[in-house]
Structures are given as structure tokens and as C-alpha cells.
Amino acid sequence: MDNLENLKNEIKIPEGIDLAIKKGIEKGKKDKKFKKHQKTYTKIVVAAAILVAVTSIGIVHPDIVKAIPGIQSIPKLIKHGNMGENAPNEIKIQNDNKVYSGTDEVNKNIAFKLKYPKNIDDLKLKLTKLDKHTYKGKPIDVADLIYEGDNNKQLVIQEVNTDEETKLPTDSVTIVNLEDGTKATVIGDTNNIKAFIQINFHKDNMNITVGGQGLGEKRLLEIANDLNE
């Protein structure tokens, strides 16, 4: 037993032992550095691969990408900015004498298909509720429409291209039920201002007439039958 215990002391410690330890530490340092870089590199590659994959799928199948949580909001922001999203059923234009109904949510756009009477082109009417009484609309490429509710009774026609606004005086804007109650007309005082808009409600459709000196030729727009869609 003594032999075994003494044997340990018989092993002489070589001079190279310090060098071996130094080399081991240096190798460790190098390896650690390499692994650190490798981790960063791997993260970058994985992130790039995911980005490429999502972009590629997004181009081919945009609906799939929209379904990914978090990503859905990106196209929304691009499309609508901070003004909200299309919500055609939030506010409806009815066939009766009511002009608007629905929620009081602000910053909601509603879109309706319009077309010229001669079916030249399909157009979109976008009405945005800015606040409780104010709706901003883009009925045609000629003008934007802002209708402030019953309290103010003010109609603003805004040129799309120039952003110029024409405000109709309060007393010159009326909403009236005509004949069988299925028509409404909003008329500006054409003597004092240079624009007017006329909206006629029928059982199945609505006619909008925008006219006046500032708006060029008189146009008649017809909302398609699918108003309540």
C-alpha cells in the first residue's frame, strides 16, 4: 500500500506542464470567441431566412401572412395609416330617409360602390366618420365630401386634387324628405357659393349629384343596389 502512496510522488512534473495549461486556456479562449461569433452569425442567418420566407410567402399568399399574429397590423398601417380600417357594415346608408346609421365609432371608413349612370366606370365612395357629427367622404375623383351632422348642418366640398375646401353656410344646407320619404336632398346656396351636392335616396339606390362652378361639370353618381353589404 505504501508503494502505491509513494508512487504518486515518483511521477515527476515535467517542465512543459505550464505550457500545456497555457495552451489549454488559449484554445478555450479561441473557441469561446468563435462560438460567440457563430451564435451571432446563426441568429442573423435565421432572422434573414425568416424574413425572406415571410416576404416570399407574403407575395405569393398574402392571406397566410396576414394570419400570423402581429404581422397583420403591418399591411393595415400601410394601407390606412392611423385612421383606422374599412368597416363597411359599421355605418350604413339606408334606403329610407335616414342618411347614416350604425355605431358612433370615429375614424372608420365605409366604402360603397358608385358608378356613373352610363356605366362608364366603377367608383368608390368612402365615408369616414371623423367624430360624432362629421363624416368625410370621397365620392368621386372630383371632390371630397364632409358632412357635419344635424347640429351644424354644414357641408364641405373638398377638391381631391387641390385640397381646396368649399364650405356651405349652415342655413343653406338642408336635408329634406321628398315625396314618399325615400328621397333626401342636400342643396347648397348656389348664389353665394360655388358648389352643391344633391343626394337622392330611392328604394334600391341612391343618386348623388355634385355640381357647381368650382367642381366642373355636373355628375350623377349612382350607388349600386348592394348598399347594405
Partner: protein, 173 residues
């Protein structure tokens, strides 16, 4: 400074603390490696690999008080891997007397016998002998390194010594 403090520093990435820990353990580690491979150069290789692996993994050591156990386990694993890797290589030039001091009590032949006998032992017996007589670990520490009960370590140790006695003769051991 307390060794445990140094270990804590090394775990946090203090290179000087790590170097200090290697410095105070180098001789024990080398002797254990030598007992396995009976060759100075191979023992140094094992030592270097042990230092390298310890450096890479020290941040994973949870309990500083088990540093010695942890380091020894790395060394044992390295030595066994090294031995298995070199099983098929026959060393024609190696001379183990290079790694031994002159010792009055025993002749070089006797020392060679002991090393050869240790070498012939099964790994589990060899490891216990190396840890006990070359690393100076207690039975409890050996059981921690090998992750087995103290009773098992004692059994291995007795069996290992018996085999060595048979192998070398009662008069030497």
C-alpha cells in the same frame, strides 16, 4: 483568497482566477493523467484538453464547492476517451521511465510493474485507484466524482487492490 471565491470569480469569467485554479491543481491533474496513460506527452495532452474543456464549461458549474470534483471528472473522462482513442495504436518508442523520478525504495522495474498492473485493471477499478492514490481524493469525493455510493467505491477499491496484489505479488503492495 479562499479557493471557493476564486471559483466564483472564474465562473463569472475572471481569467486570472481560472489560471490560478489551474496552477494550484496542475500537479494533481498531471499525476492522475500520467497514472492513466503512463506517458509524459500523453499526460500533458490530457491535461491540456482538461484545461480547455474546463475553460469552456466553467460558467456551467453551479456549485463552486464541487469544483475539484467537477475538474476531476473532466480529467477522468478525457483520460478514458484518450485511452479508447489510442487503443489500436502500439507505442514502440515510448519509455515510461522518462516520467518517473529515481526512487530509492523501488527499482524502476518495480515501478513499471505497478503501472503495468494498474493499466491492466478494468476502468472502474483503475479510476478508483487513480483518484485515491494519485489525486488524493477521499472516498466521499471519489463517490461524488463517479456519482456512485461510498460503499461501491470502497468495494471497487478493495477489489482493485486485491487484483493488484495478485498481479504484482504480496511483497510489493
Amino acid at each position: 483568497m479562499d479557493i471557493e471565491e476564486q471559483v466564483k470569480l472564474a465562473i463569472r469569467g475572471d481569467e486570472k482566477a481560472f489560471e490560478y485554479l489551474m496552477k494550484i491543481n496542475k500537479e494533481v491533474l498531471y499525476r492522475a493523467a500520467f497514472a492513466y496513460v503512463k506517458n509524459e506527452q500523453d499526460a500533458l495532452d490530457i491535461l491540456q484538453e482538461t484545461v480547455y474543456k474546463a475553460y469552456i464549461c466553467i460558467d456551467k458549474l453551479k456549485e463552486p464547492k464541487y469544483f475539484k470534483t467537477w475538474l476531476t471528472r473532466i480529467l477522468i473522462n478525457n483520460a478514458i476517451s484518450f485511452k479508447n482513442k489510442n487503443k489500436k495504436i502500439i507505442n514502440l518508442t515510448g519509455d515510461i521511465t522518462n516520467g518517473l523520478k529515481s526512487y530509492e525504495g523501488n527499482t524502476v522495474d518495480e515501478k513499471l510493474d505497478i503501472f503495468s498492473s494498474i493499466k491492466k485493471l478494468e476502468d472502474k477499478y483503475k479510476t478508483v485507484i487513480v483518484l485515491k492514490y494519485f489525486q488524493d481524493l477521499t472516498i466521499t469525493e471519489i463517490s461524488e466524482v463517479l456519482n456512485c455510493p461510498s460503499g461501491t467505491v470502497k468495494t471497487y477499491l478493495n477489489k482493485a487492490l486485491s487484483k493488484l496484489r495478485i498481479s504484482m505479488g504480496e511483497e510489493i503492495i
